[in-house]
């Protein structure tokens, strides 16, 4: 196989295709094709099962979406499983392991040859009781943390295998936030669908809502006007700014550098309030809706946003430069939680974590949609792969997002912010279709996939939050680290529990 000859259907981001155009293989053939394609440098964006009906729950179709970032292409293939199992590729392609476990859990299928088959979201009603990999030997001890943590954060369980302070192995067990988002989207879209998207991961409301709306728009052939696309991109960058500034502040706090921690904690709020200036809600609820936007802006509001952006940038740049000018902070960040480039490739890492390990991987650039097709943001990378790298990439991206918003505010396209004939809020999408929408949220690739039935309703809705790709990378980065460095390693990834658990 070559990059030109991948025997899957090729599509672009933010596009819908007939379901029948996706070639179907046997599970064995599909496994082989995935392995070969990953060997060529493609990566898995999504890999999931879809059953045509309740009755066929035991014999679903497996769908895989592969991304060829160099050629700005996506590929979709599938296989029908009919004998209770399918061959696992996780041993050769570690990035598939969590996807295969999810398929196993949702459909009761066995990924044959999976190296560590266990649940993804189920079986955690008893805190901490699951099978964990265990290191045995003299002075080896185990540390169990969670699901309830010390701070105001979401629940998850961490199991460390330690020798003194040194971590041999970390296993992360999630699922505590599982609330049935994907299941509830089946049969839609309906009036609750957009709210499921907005709350898939609350701090990435705009990214998830944009992906969701793009699916509906692609499946109904009604594109939002240019003005809506420009403003949605501005909102997505504001979301990134708030989170990146907040993350750098939290990293500063974790190494005891309080000036930047205090300033960034407050400045993050300034960016959230800018989102509230657009739509009344600090997280962007109600801003992006199918067919366009829920709110327009006038010249006065644009001027106010520009004024606030300049003020926040002034404060943020002082707070960030102070951190990166402080040797004691850099010394703590350097060589902590290293994820080398090869491991990042193998694990299929996305977002700032991938870029900090030297991978030029950014949906806005590689698989652009909406306004990013016209206005590009340079991809910010660094090659150290450690906490410093992940902090530094965020700093670079803060500068890029500020520049992007400024540029966009000067030339917002005129016209309406919502399509005249808005997509219907229920049913009537193009039937028997398949659509994919990717967006670069602040954590990385937010992937939504929808399959429709013969009536044009969702028959399967798949959400892949960037955290789903990146949690295993955090576990990997902890190897050979001191357990006391877990907080800064964790903060440097800052992954979503609810986006993983859905």
């Amino acid at each position: 196989m070559t990059r030109d000859g991948i025997p899957f259907v090729s599509l672009v981001n933010d596009d819908a295709i007939p379901l029948e155009s996706i070639p179907s293989y046997s599970p064995d053939e599909l496994a082989l094709l995935i392995k070969e394609a990953l060997g060529l440098g493609l990566r898995i964006s999504a890999y999931f099962g879809a059953a045509a009906s309740e009755a066929s729950l035991g014999s679903p179709d497996l769908y895989v979406i592969l991304a060829d970032d160099e050629r700005n292409r996506l590929y979709a293939g599938r296989a029908r499983v009919d004998k209770g199992g399918f061959p696992s590729v996780a041993r050769d392609c570690p990035q598939a392991q969590l996807f295969e476990r999810e398929i196993a859990e949702q459909f009761g299928l066995v990924p044959e040859g999976h190296p560590w088959l266990k649940s993804v979201r189920q079986g955690c009603t008893e805190p901490g009781i699951r099978d964990f990999y265990r290191v045995e030997g003299e002075s080896v001890h185990e540390v169990a943390v969670g699901p309830v943590h010390a701070g105001v954060i979401e629940p998850g369980h961490f199991r460390f295998q330690c020798h003194g302070e040194r971590v041999f192995h970390l296993e992360i067990a999630l699922g505590y936030q599982h609330r049935g988002v994907e299941e509830a989207l089946v049969g839609g879209p309906d009036k609750r669908s957009i709210h499921y998207a907005e709350t898939a991961s609350g701090d990435a409301t705009i990214a998830h809502a944009t992906s969701h709306c793009q699916l509906i728009e692609a499946l109904s052939g009604r594109r939002p006007p240019a003005r809506a696309q420009a403003l949605a991109a501005i909102a997505l960058e504001l979301e990134r700014l708030a989170s990146h500034v907040g993350d750098i502040g939290a990293l500063a706090g974790d190494v005891g550098f309080l000036p930047t921690a205090s300033y960034c904690g407050r400045i993050r709020g300034d960016f959230l309030n800018m989102t509230a200036l657009l739509c009344g809600n600090r997280f962007g609820r109600g801003f992006v809706v199918p067919g366009g936007l829920g709110y327009d802006v006038d010249a006065e509001r644009v001027a106010e946003l520009a004024r606030r952006l300049a003020a926040a940038w002034r404060d943020a740049s002082v707070a960030l430069n102070l951190l990166f000018d402080t040797q004691s902070v850099l010394a703590r960040f350097e060589d902590t939680g290293r994820l080398d480039r090869a491991a990042a490739v193998e694990l299929g890492v996305v977002g700032p974590a991938a870029r900090a390990s030297g991978l030029s991987r950014d949906v806005r650039f590689d698989q652009s949609s909406g306004m990013y097709r016209l206005a590009q943001i340079p991809v910010s990378t660094y090659d150290s792969g450690d906490v410093l790298g992940r902090a530094f990439v965020r700093k670079l991206e803060i500068g890029q997002s500020i520049a992007f918003i400024r540029e966009q505010l000067d030339c917002i396209p005129s016209g309406p912010v919502a399509a005249e004939d808005k997509p219907a809020s229920s049913g009537s999408l193009s039937p028997n279709s398949f659509a994919v929408a990717l967006n670069e949220g602040w954590r990385g690739e937010v992937c939504h996939v929808a399959l429709t039935d013969e009536k044009g309703a969702f028959s399967r809705y798949k959400i892949v939050d960037p955290s789903f790709h990146n949690w295993p990378a955090l576990a990997y980065a902890l190897r050979d680290q001191e357990i006391s460095d877990f907080p800064i390693c964790n903060k440097s990834f800052n992954l979503s529990y609810c986006g993983h658990d859905l």
Binding site: E126, V152, Y176, Q177
Partner: protein, 265 residues
């Protein structure tokens, strides 16, 4: 060191004056306490009920709608579809109440009975020092984020003796967010049982009050008050703070009312 001092001067003093001074201004598009104009509602249609994603708005008969702020996501869809403009979301951020029923705006009773203070004994215990254990039990993480924001220098809730603590053993109150997933049921119960008496429970966000966007999902209990304790009783919630998520000022206002730091309208 000189850089730290220069940065400190540049960043200025930023803690807000509230509650001594004015509260920070709400965004003009903020959707706070809804106002229902019963005279305007002609009672002919059910557009508001049909538009509501969570069943917060119900319209039984030819009267103005009943609105349950415990289920409300404050999305404003009901106001948008009302042909008579009978529903309007105001910028009033004050929404916290002491009982679940108080969140229901019925016809003839459109006022929100804002939270009153704790009784004398509890106020003496917690009024100047309230340590909270936060447990996130499902949901989207936004309520946690906007609760946590209160600890930043702009809001600085430690001014009021309120602090988030790491252990339930150190806590006077449990601040619950999320619809209480079945996967978090045990952890939440254990956290509550581990706290010493007397203890308070605060439910923040529509998820923790009613299940929010996840009302009716089999994966969730549908709110903190649905959690059954070892005694067979249910988790007693002392303060309900609605919103999706509530604005930080809504949360702060609720906490200060509970502690008797704000009594006036």
């Amino acid at each position: 060191m000189i850089k730290v001092i220069l940065a400190r001067l540049q960043q200025k003093y930023r803690t807000m004056k509230y509650p001594a001074g004015n509260p920070p201004p709400m965004p003009d598009r903020f959707r706070g306490r809804p106002e229902i104009d019963d005279a305007a509602c002609l009672g002919k249609c059910e557009a508001c009920e049909a538009a509501c994603p969570t069943g917060a708005v119900t319209k039984a008969d030819a009267m103005g709608p009943r609105m349950d702020l415990g289920k409300c996501l404050f999305c404003g869809d009901c106001a948008k579809v009302c042909p008579e403009g009978a529903i309007r979301f105001t910028r009033d951020y004050r929404l916290a109440v002491r009982s679940r029923d108080a969140l229901v705006l019925q016809q003839g009773d459109r006022e929100l009975a804002l939270a009153g203070a704790l009784d004398k004994k509890l106020k003496r215990l917690f009024g100047r020092s309230l340590k909270l254990r936060q447990v996130s039990s499902g949901g989207c993480g936004a309520c946690e984020a906007d609760s946590n924001v209160l600890t930043t220098i702009g809001w600085d809730i430690s001014r009021f003796g309120i602090q988030f603590v790491a252990s339930p053993r150190h806590a006077d109150g449990l601040l619950v967010t999320g619809p209480v997933t079945k996967n978090m049921e045990l952890a939440l119960r254990k956290t509550y049982e581990a706290m010493c008496e007397p203890k308070l429970v605060i439910a923040v966000g529509s998820c923790a009050i009613s299940g929010g966007p996840y009302i009716g999902h089999e994966e969730v209990l549908g709110g903190a008050a649905k959690l059954e304790l070892e005694s067979g009783k249910y988790l007693p919630v002392d303060l309900f703070i609605p919103g999706c998520p509530p604005h930080p000022l809504t949360i702060l206002d609720g906490l200060l009312r509970l502690l008797g730091r704000i009594e006036k309208e």
